[in-house]
């Protein structure tokens, strides 16, 4: 038998395999910047001959005296006054408006771009168009993301021509790459590596303020935690100092209050209970606690600045509860992606979670967790707490606000819906020759201000890959940080700090009662791929997040967590989960 028939058969089989994959490939759209398709809602944004077609959203302002039944938000209308002026009308005074508007979820998108790329979700991964100092050059999913300088940038150009973003879940690996010189800066230096970095002359450590809180959550609806005495016993029975000293880097401390004290008005009222195991045990016995049962304790293994070593902290808590109080708990690891959802529905009787500051105000901590808009993680809310928080949120007088928060802190201490554990310090580390290296207290590092020695490219390594680059619908810090390199908001946080300064808006001025904010936009700002900034872009950027019924309210996962947290609620929200 000659060889040729067999070899040709081999060839046919091999080709068949390749053709199969190729046909599959041909059926998929190729990832390139697609041109804008005809849009449904957004009007033309370029100034054409004739008067400017200014948008208002909604067309008729919401009547603050007669709010729709399901609307808990504070915005009444957002409107473009002229091509470069936007006005925000609020139903309640908001002193923290600038901080909120500077937040990354409020990045400004181009109206036409939204119309073309929201519905098919291409704006999440393949089609980004921002006004920021960089634009996406290539994104190799799973491997790295390359940004190049945005040639038409309105501000001071980024110091490095290119930014390469890499990621690794393991702190040891990030440090290894930094030491090897393959990356210029890393996020979240490992807890035990702070000393190593400090001792290395070729590296520099930049600690972050601990603007976060790790807490042990208790669901007050579920036994045995529905007994307030039991909860108070747990509050006294954990040596929080030991956790902070052993599992957290320098700059961390045991929490005295829920909100870190660096935030103004946070630390009034009674400080948390001291560690007193004998008294806690007595309290448990007098409350008739059942020491024979084993109770479930839920946590996830995702690393966060408030929890750099989840498994170790959970193990230590288990060990402490057993040794100090005789309480037996069973560690239950939950999946990363379902943990938050289940927690928000109040599924877990006892769990470990935390919170990192988004903007420097007490409302970002207390209201989100204990206010009227908080989720069901801790079970039933306490009326004394919610009333104090609601009053304080719209109180313009700082002293009175401080009083209200102090009383709220004391009430929280009495009711113990959770035990605040640690404010976790973290740090970034950079190679010593990087100019402008820094860390941001809210994880918002400005990579455009860094220049690595005489190299023209800065390589940054963070914890994980950005889950998407449409930040109206992202809540993970690793995505938000990268959005900030590509997009701008009306205001921005100062580099490495918490104060805000103008960005796309040259100014945003409040009315005397803080209910109307008027922002004047800079002129001639160009988007990285196409379009020029005008007021309608601002209106649309907010509107597509705000109104759940807007056809462009698509996002990545569709949860749009930040808008309701910042502005009280969505318009036409979907009915709450049963």
């Amino acid at each position: 038998m000659s060889r040729s028939p067999r070899w040709s058969l081999f060839a046919i089989l091999a080709t068949a395999a390749i053709v199969f994959t190729a046909c599959a490939g041909a059926a998929s759209p190729s990832p390139s910047a697609s041109t804008a398709a005809s849009s449904a809602s957004a009007p033309a944004s370029a100034a054409s001959s004739g008067p400017y077609a200014a948008k208002s959203y909604p067309d008729t302002a919401i009547d603050c005296a007669a709010l729709p039944k399901d609307y808990t938000g504070t915005i009444s209308q957002i409107k473009a006054v002229d091509q470069l002026t936007v006005e925000f009308d609020l139903c309640a005074p908001d002193v923290a408006f600038l901080s909120k508007v500077a937040f990354t979820s409020n990045n400004i998108q181009d109206s036409d771009w939204l119309a073309a790329h929201a519905k098919d979700k291409s704006y999440v991964h393949d089609a980004t168009n921002g006004t920021g100092p960089y634009r996406v050059k290539e994104w190799v999913s799973g491997d790295h993301l390359t940004l190049e300088a945005n040639p038409g940038y309105w501000g001071t150009a980024g110091k490095a021509q290119t930014v390469v973003v890499k990621w690794s879940k393991e702190a040891a690996q990030r440090l290894q790459e930094l030491k090897a010189g393959t990356v210029d800066g890393i996020d979240n230096v490992g807890t035990d590596d702070f000393e190593t970095v400090k001792a290395d002359a070729s590296l520099k450590l930049f600690p972050r303020e601990a603007l976060n809180i790790l807490y042990l959550g208790l669901n007050v609806n579920q036994a045995p935690w529905n007994n307030e005495k039991v909860r108070q016993a747990i509050a006294m029975g954990i040596d929080r100092k030991r956790i902070a000293e052993n599992f957290y880097p320098a700059g961390s401390e045991a929490a005295k209050y829920f909100t870190p004290c660096a935030i103004p008005l946070a630390c009034g009222g009674d400080a948390w209970y001291d560690f007193d195991a004998p008294q806690a045990k007595q309290l448990l016995q007098s409350a008739g606690f059942d020491f024979g049962k084993t109770y479930n304790f839920h946590y996830r293994t995702k690393v966060r600045s408030y929890l750099p070593s989840p498994t170790q902290v959970a193990t230590d808590i288990q060990s402490q509860l057993k040794d100090n109080l005789g309480v037996k708990i069973n560690l239950v690891v939950e999946k990363d992606d379902t943990f938050l959802t289940d927690e928000s529905k109040g599924k877990f009787p006892m769990f470990l979670l935390g919170w990192g500051a988004d903007y420097p105000d007490v409302t970002d901590f207390l209201d989100v967790h204990f206010g009227t808009g908080a989720n069901s993680g801790f079970g039933k809310k306490f009326d004394d707490v919610t009333q104090l928080l609601t009053a304080a949120a719209s109180e313009a007088d700082a002293t009175k606000r401080g009083d209200d928060y102090a009383k709220a802190n004391t009430a929280i201490r009495t009711h113990v819906p959770m035990v605040p554990l640690v404010h976790g310090g973290s740090a970034t580390a950079w190679r010593a020759d990087v100019e402008g290296a820094h860390s941001s207290p809210i994880g918002n590092e400005a990579l455009w201000t860094t220049k690595p020695g005489d190299r023209n490219q800065v390589v940054w390594m963070q914890n994980s890959e950005p889950s998407g680059l449409y930040c109206g619908d992202e809540s993970d810090g690793d995505a938000l940080r990268i959005c900030q390199q590509i997009f701008d908001s009306l205001y921005q946080y100062k580099v490495g700090g918490l104060e805000t300064e103008p960005a796309l808006a040259s100014s945003c001025d409040p009315s005397p009662d803080f209910k109307v904010w008027t922002c004047k936009l800079r002129q001639g700002v160009k988007f990285g791929v196409q379009g020029e900034l005008d007021a309608n872009d601002v209106v649309d950027s907010f509107a597509v997040q705000w109104d759940a019924k807007n056809p462009l309210h698509v996002g990545n996962g569709g949860t749009f967590d930040y808008f309701p947290a910042l502005f009280g609620g969505l318009l036409n929200p979907p009915p709450p989960a049963p």
Partner: protein
Amino acid sequence: MTTAAAPATVGLDAAPRSRSSGLWRDALRNILRQRNARVGLSILTILVLSAIFADVLSPYDPDKTLLGAEKRLAPPCVHLLGCAAAKPEHPFGLDANGRDEFSRVLHGARISLQVGFITVGFAIVLGMLLGLVSGYAGGWTETLIMRVMDVLLVFPALLLAIAIVAALGPGLINAQLAIGIVAIPVYARVMRASVLTVRESDFVTASRALGESPFGLIFRRILPNALTPIIVAGTLGIAGAVLDIAALSFLGLGAQPPLAEWGSMIGQDRNYVFTAPHLIWFPGLALALTVFGFNLLGDGLRDALDPRLNR
């Protein structure tokens, strides 16, 4: 005629009995003659003893954190090797939660042995059942069962195990189930091959002609024939199962904290590979030694029991 038949029957009955016990003794002697098997058995003896006497041999409770008194991640301290007498002795150091690593490694032996035997036992029982049924029944049943085995074999073992654990939820029991399921085809095939060989042989036809029941056939002819390859495959299979469970636990899908399983210990302390490498070395060495022991034993068994190699 009768006189001629009687001695023949006596011979037929008598010979197998003494031959089979002689066979076992021969086999054992063969096994111990293999250097591989001897080394493997000695390693495994140490392992089994550590597992059984883990509670006695461990200086500390493997789950007890010693954080109040001692520093976590402390390097190994052995007084005989020069560590200061004032410091508490920890031959393998302390882990990230301040627990004694030596005690944990010893208890890990218990878990790994349990896991290995249970998983392979499960796979052997089910595999043998499937192999028997398909070999005996033939026809469509056989084709169906064997195709299902083929489908199972097509998947990379670890990925299939990951999928099963993802469906059932992480945990040591689910991991054992997953690895067990993945391992079934091997034993099914061995059993079926054995059934097929025996089914066609002459003495089986003779036995059946003499009225032997199918159960008798299974237990007296088929099983002994299949025993050797299954024992060899099983021993090697335990090595594989220990490795696979360690891999699943490394990925966080198998043993859950605070259980002291070697793979899980390595997975959790991965970050300390540069600062506290003893936390990777000792469990890793223990794993490698265990698997090495079972591999050697399996090789030795195969060389000893394989009739073709008896030159």
